[in-house]
Symmetry: C2
Subunit: 385 residues, 2 copies
Amino acid sequence: MPEFAQPQFPRPLQAPDASCGHAVRFSEPLALDSGHTLDGFTIAYQTYGALNRARSNAVLVCHALSGDQFAAGVHPVTGRVGWWPLVVGSGRPIDTGKYFVICTNVIGGCMGSTGPADINPATGRPFALDFPVVTIRDMVRAQGRLLDVLKIERLLCVTGGSMGGMQALQWLASYPERVRSAMPLATSARHTAQNIALHEVGRQAIMADPDWRGGRYQEQGVSPKRGLAIARMMGHISYLSETALAQKFGRALQEREAVSYGFGPDFQVESYLHHQGSSFVERFDPNSYLYITRAMDYFDLAAEYGGDLRVPFDKTRARLLCVSFTSDWLFPTSENRVIAEAAAAAGCPVEFREIESKRGHDAFLLEEPELFAAVSRFLDSVAAE
Amino acid sequence: MPEFAQPQFPRPLQAPDASCGHAVRFSEPLALDSGHTLDGFTIAYQTYGALNRARSNAVLVCHALSGDQFAAGVHPVTGRVGWWPLVVGSGRPIDTGKYFVICTNVIGGCMGSTGPADINPATGRPFALDFPVVTIRDMVRAQGRLLDVLKIERLLCVTGGSMGGMQALQWLASYPERVRSAMPLATSARHTAQNIALHEVGRQAIMADPDWRGGRYQEQGVSPKRGLAIARMMGHISYLSETALAQKFGRALQEREAVSYGFGPDFQVESYLHHQGSSFVERFDPNSYLYITRAMDYFDLAAEYGGDLRVPFDKTRARLLCVSFTSDWLFPTSENRVIAEAAAAAGCPVEFREIESKRGHDAFLLEEPELFAAVSRFLDSVAAE
């Protein structure tokens, strides 16, 4: 029987207040796409707002690569605000005054859900690379089990950006009758060659760090922080557009009048990346970074349907709001349009919006009034049906 | 007095045939933009074709970040073809039947010109990070000294793509009367924030490699090959367009029927990057990679003229052919157009061409008939004047 529990927060970090957040421990096994099985697993999750009597106002919010279950409010580990406070909250586009928001840490993650930093019951040691590679569908399968426990039969909506959008799409294919609507944002039905390439360089940086120790750094009291920071720096370049970087930093120097003729961070953009890298390693497990990037690389929604992207939408009648941003070069409009067209061809009512923004991929996380209005209107309209 | 010499080929590599190529050793110092001075220096160079009696048919070809003086023919160290065989050669757009092509290894480089792997005469040890940071202008200054020795007063043309284009632009500003024409290709008058960011991540990968040893790897018999390979992998992503990666690799798997559910190179694009990384480290010095990327980051042609890009073109009457490629996101059309407009505003006759190509930044190195025709026509027209 699944048991409610306190989430165990990530190694090396601990939550200052162990009472925050929820977790469910499942003793029944979870079969994975790889053919492996997790004998038991934990899903850590957070909820916002209240479930109504009809249990019909639940919105599942799915996080991206570096996110976790703390979409809103103060993050108990970092002490900073969650990752989607502009969208999830009271009076926000996903209004917690109306909707019951659930956000889970994905399996493979490092914020309380089962991942490579957990103890492998078969050995008594951390899994490290003995953890099975998981897929987006595995993540969704685990979320489905959580919704069973929470007695939510049908979601009003499932949404997320980037990898969160992949999960939203997978929900439509895996559980077509459990979803009334979906909002996949700034995402793709399959990771492109460029996406895979960027991830592979990040993984190589982690695995090249001598403190990675073949993945067994935890037991040896070290951590491949420099490698993970490099991966994160590279990620950040891809999350911003060239225009955003030019407007935000240009060639401005960091606290100096002239270049140093050296290899320190002369330019503001260098300092920014260093900061992004060094703050990330304080909250994220390097092996989780390997596993989650791999899950994204493997994502190809149409692959098991002979490459026909209409088929995974065949069994659902969910409404979709698909959103892309003009300057997002990681998950460009073309990739999002493909989703909208396939779902429409399969008979789903689809609204597709390309939003003019200079902010690149990160736009889905930022102040984008057109996104907010579209999300709010869409949800209200689905709820009113 | 400058002396002609044999170039010393890079550590750890040696040319199989030490008689190939040329070098000039300068005993007179070279003053650098940093305020430092090189007490003496060597320029390794290659020539193709013959100088005419009037000494008026010389074309200086400038290499990009990872290039060297071997633009055409067989590279004596790698045994492979040079970097621009489609453009430089007999009957090629820069026709060595008509023109005398000179290509120098930049200072800071590692193919025989003075760089961080050379012995510092002050210490008897390799310079490593004691080598002064050099700029694009320093590179051009050293080239100017070589042309003095070769008794070439005036170039028919100076050209190059990427960093080679930066050198071509710098020639117009540094030696306005020594240049009859210039072809800056797929380049920029200043490195953008995104360009700097990409370089910084590459440098961090090199410096994070434990075999970097604070830059003193040579003396310790090691080399930060993994770090340099990661930097190179990242570079290659930026040299190709998303479309080129999709067309070349897509999600095709590498010698397997299905994904491995592991962290090896499942996808062809991963294998490609691994190959690019591992072959590069056999021919390139990691510290040179730091120095040359830094020179590019520092490049900002207008900076010393109060930000007015017309001024550096004020003293030259050179004709320009500026070329960009539609899918080049590293040095996009917008950056190249700025150059063309500024030069035109300063009174230079300018031809600007944006060439439709799906190949990204690398297009300037590849089979691009429109480029070839434009280069050929431009050079012939300048020569006929």
